[in-house]
């Protein structure tokens, strides 16, 4: 039996999950803004506090989870508290957890949803090296008046370009939560992420 199954979840399961849910909703409604999530009682090996709180809030028996190798120790914790199936293929996942963008496979391997059911797309949760500092990025899209700036550590141009390729598939695509310790920032599929000096697209 996996040892992380014997770690407690939220200190106050109902209210912490409600607070986290509200914060995650706001995070997707206002991309780029950084929110704080109530952390679980104890550190969970393989997941940051915000990523673990997100899992406790959103993941259940109907949402298969894919874990990148460095998140794998959290499998027991997720199975016990969320009752979710852990899948080995990214294609089957509703949520994918990774530590660093480099750990994600090619993005097209995840479920992108269909024209009729775009909500079947996977949600990625990536623990970044830094949030609120690190690389400056310009965000545009729904939920942002004009444009806004955010800072995410460990994002390279190649990954951003791969994500930008998915814009053409809208309404299909991938929603992303970037976490760092207890903080989280939502980047839904509609948000365009660009380096600050790149020329604006038409």
């Amino acid at each position: 039996m996996n040892d992380t199954a014997t770690l407690p979840g939220f200190a106050d399961p109902v209210h912490d999950a409600q607070r986290a849910f509200r914060a995650l909703l706001d995070a997707l409604a206002r991309p780029g803004r950084i929110h704080r999530l109530p952390p679980p009682l104890r550190a969970v090996p393989g997941l940051g506090p915000a990523a673990a709180a997100l899992a406790l809030t959103l993941v259940d028996f109907e949402t298969p989870v894919w874990l990148a190798p460095s998140c794998a120790p959290a499998a027991g914790f997720l199975r016990f508290h969320c009752g979710c199936p852990i899948v080995t293929e990214p294609e089957q996942a509703a949520f994918a957890f990774a530590c660093g963008f480099a750990e994600l496979p090619v993005l097209e391997r995840f479920a992108l949803g269909t024209e009729e059911e775009p909500e079947r797309a996977a949600t990625l949760v990536v623990e970044a090296a830094a949030l609120g500092e690190g690389r400056a990025l310009r965000l545009r899209g729904p939920g942002i008046a004009g444009e806004c700036r955010t800072h995410i550590g460990g994002l390279d141009d190649e990954w951003l370009a791969a994500r930008a390729m998915l814009h053409a598939l809208y309404p299909c695509g991938l929603d992303l939560f970037v976490t760092c310790a207890e903080r989280v920032c939502g980047l839904p599929r509609t948000t365009r992420i660009e380096p600050p000096c790149a020329p604006a697209e038409a």
Binding site: A5, T6, L7, P8, G9, P13, L41, F80, H81
Partner: protein, 156 residues
Amino acid sequence: MMQNPHDDPAIARRRRWMGVLAQAPRETLERAWRRFAAPPAFEWLRRPETGLVMTRGRAGGSGRRFNLGELCVTRAAVRLEGGAVGHAYVAGRDGRRAELAALFDALLQQPTLHDELERELIGPLAEAAHAAREDAARKAAATRVEFFTLVRGEDA
């Protein structure tokens, strides 16, 4: 691969005491808990939560499986300071009963306490449950009606 849990004697033993605890009256568990001079320290893995589980049945024990109905169940999970984890699933909505059953499940895994608890708590509880079942069976048996059909002789 995982071995079949039914073959593991340790699991069989734990399953037995968990079954006994799940059916134990709350007062008995409270009394046993109060006997500890210093109640063992523990932390919650899962506070008591109540939900419904679908119970399944088989007609005659071997027929096709069918859904018998939903049962209200409260579950809880605790971890003692030493690391032993206790789980409980008890019928009904009594959170405290689930809590105590989970605590005793964890305590029964401690070699230092196991024999004493088995003797003082599980043994008497199992006997009481057995006696109650026998009693109910006896009362039911006393009301049994035997039907006789008279042979009318056409086949003879």
